[in-house]
């Protein structure tokens, strides 16, 4: 009984898991191990407010520094777990020391996909944004007038484009797919953001294949596209998605499929090991699913914590997500996977609009642009297992509240 519960990965999910274990009354020894310098912090501002210098590090922290001691959580920073030994209930730290655990949680997050070194991905000046260290290295390089190329028109890439354009940089976003946000949103939402960026002077090139980045004197100087276009670049920010940190689990022989496979309560294929957050995939609506969001990190971690204490309950989320670009707040409720119908609802304010996704007539997601009411009622409908019919959603005069009954 005296061996501790150990959590590997001190991020959004790790801290939520620790907090939930304590809230559920677990009084035993609890160790939270992370390889970064700073106590767990929020990542979303790293591509938003933090870049414009509106927040200092203390305000990014998920919990204040003294919280860990108060809650009797042994926070070990700048330590890396390098191997797991499920049969022995042990793990190995980077200094070679071994640590025994009674139960283990893996909340190791994800790492950015990078451009291959063969096409210039390793050149200085070609960067990704995942952690505070990345942001702190990039921010001093941002200067008005500088030419920035963002590779990848997903949410993080577009946010990076927005904050840097607002700082006076000349920004070009290149997207390999037919349209920005193709993987995550309908054409209507893509069109909204394409226009928004255009209005702010950002050039968006869609269906633009990247050939390579090229350096001069050991630093990136340009981006060459497949069609032969050369884009001069003082800095290249790569935002082409993330890969789950599932290597520890894989090496230890745990089931891995698009991340560490867990059951609906958060348990891996080893009964004493759990996982949650960006690193974990779980069965949801009949499909193995991995979500990359704060909502998922927190709620899945809380389910895993309950399961670790013997109170397993199925995790059946209504996912939500947000993105800030310029003065537009995008809020997303649900997951639009497999949608077959989309309707657009104009909002009550200029520039506000929502996009409603249906699968076989059933509401599955809403993207709301500066339209919190649409988000709120869309989310409420999804939480209650209700549908707001497409004809009602599309009619700006229809009362959503009444439609929910």
């Amino acid at each position: 009984m005296s061996d501790p519960i150990v959590i590997v990965g001190a991020g959004q999910a790790g801290v939520a898991l620790a907090a939930k274990l304590r809230a559920l009354g677990h009084a035993g020894r609890l160790i939270l191990i992370g390889d970064e310098k700073v106590p767990p912090y929020q990542r979303p501002p790293l591509s938003k407010k933090y870049v414009s210098g509106e927040l200092d590090v203390e305000r990014l922290l998920i919990r204040p520094r003294d919280w860990y001691a108060e809650q009797n959580v042994e926070l070990r920073l700048e330590e890396r777990v390098v191997a797991l030994w499920p049969r022995e209930h042990e793990l190995t730290l980077s200094d070679g020391a071994r640590l025994r655990y009674r139960r283990l949680a893996l909340t190791s997050g994800a790492r950015p996909r990078t451009l291959p070194a063969e096409i210039g991905g390793a050149l200085p000046g070609v960067v990704t944004i995942r952690g505070l260290a990345d942001a702190d290295a990039i921010i001093p390089q941002l200067k008005p007038g500088m030419r920035l190329v963002v590779v990848g028109g997903g949410y993080i890439g577009l946010e990076a484009a927005a904050v840097t354009a607002a700082k006076g940089m000349q920004v070009t976003v290149i997207e390999a797919a037919e349209r920005i946000l193709q993987r995550v949103a309908a054409a209507e939402t893509s069109a909204y953001f394409r226009e928004l960026h255009r209005c702010h002077g950002v050039t968006i090139r869609e269906a633009a294949g990247l050939e390579r980045t090229e350096g001069v004197d050991g630093r990136v100087a340009s981006v060459l596209l497949k069609d032969g276009t050369v884009l001069p670049a003082d800095l290249v920010i790569v935002g082409i998605g993330v890969l789950p940190n599932d290597d520890l689990a894989r090496a230890a022989g745990l089931a891995v499929e698009n991340g560490i496979s867990v059951d609906e309560s958060g348990r891996t294929s080893d009964p004493d090991i759990f996982a949650a957050g960006d690193c974990a995939s779980f069965p949801w609506q009949g499909v193995r699913t991995r979500l990359e969001s704060v909502q998922n990190a927190i709620e899945q971690a809380e389910h895993a914590a309950a399961a670790m204490l013997g109170a397993a309950a199925p995790y059946n989320p209504v996912p939500w997500f947000w993105s800030d670009q310029y003065d537009v707040k995008l809020q997303i409720a649900g997951l639009n996977r497999g949608y077959d119908q989309v309707v657009v609802r104009p909002g009550k304010r200029p520039g506000s609009q929502s996009v409603w996704y249906y699968r076989q007539g059933v509401l599955i997601a809403v993207d709301a642009m500066n339209d919190a009411l649409a988000y709120a009622f869309g989310k409420k409908a999804l939480e209650g297992g209700k549908t707001i019919a497409p004809a009602i959603a599309a009619d700006p005069t229809a009362d959503l509240k009444a439609a929910l009954g």
Binding site: W67, Q295, I298, D324, K329, N370, D371, A372, Y375, K379
Partner: protein
């Protein structure tokens, strides 16, 4: 620094000196005020920072703007006339002594 007090359902009070410019969700989280969660980090997307402003103070905090008012539609606890999302209230000197009631979830 303005002093802010959160009153919990059971009458327990938690008081903090909040740096000017910080929002009252982050101040509550820093003080471990139960039921003020702040999942979205203050970006008006979760409504988990819902509080009831003491009616005597409501004129000073002001009413929610449009977006916030819309988000108040999905609070877990009932919306009341002085409901606010505390991430949208910034600590300013005029709010010294402010009293907020934390909804019971």
């Amino acid at each position: 620094m303005p002093k802010v007090t959160w009153i919990l359902k059971d009458g327990k009070e938690i008081t903090a000196d909040v740096p000017v410019g910080h929002n009252l969700m982050e101040a509550a989280v820093a003080k471990n005020v139960p039921n003020v969660i702040g999942e979205c980090g203050g970006c008006l997307s979760c409504a988990t920072c819902h509080v009831y402003v003491d009616p005597a103070w409501y004129a000073k905090t002001g009413a929610p703007d449009d977006m916030e008012s819309d988000m108040l539609e999905i609070t877990v606890a009932e919306r009341k006339p002085t409901s606010r999302l505390s991430c949208q209230i910034k600590a300013v000197p005029e709010l010294d002594g402010l009293i907020l009631r934390v909804p019971y979830i």
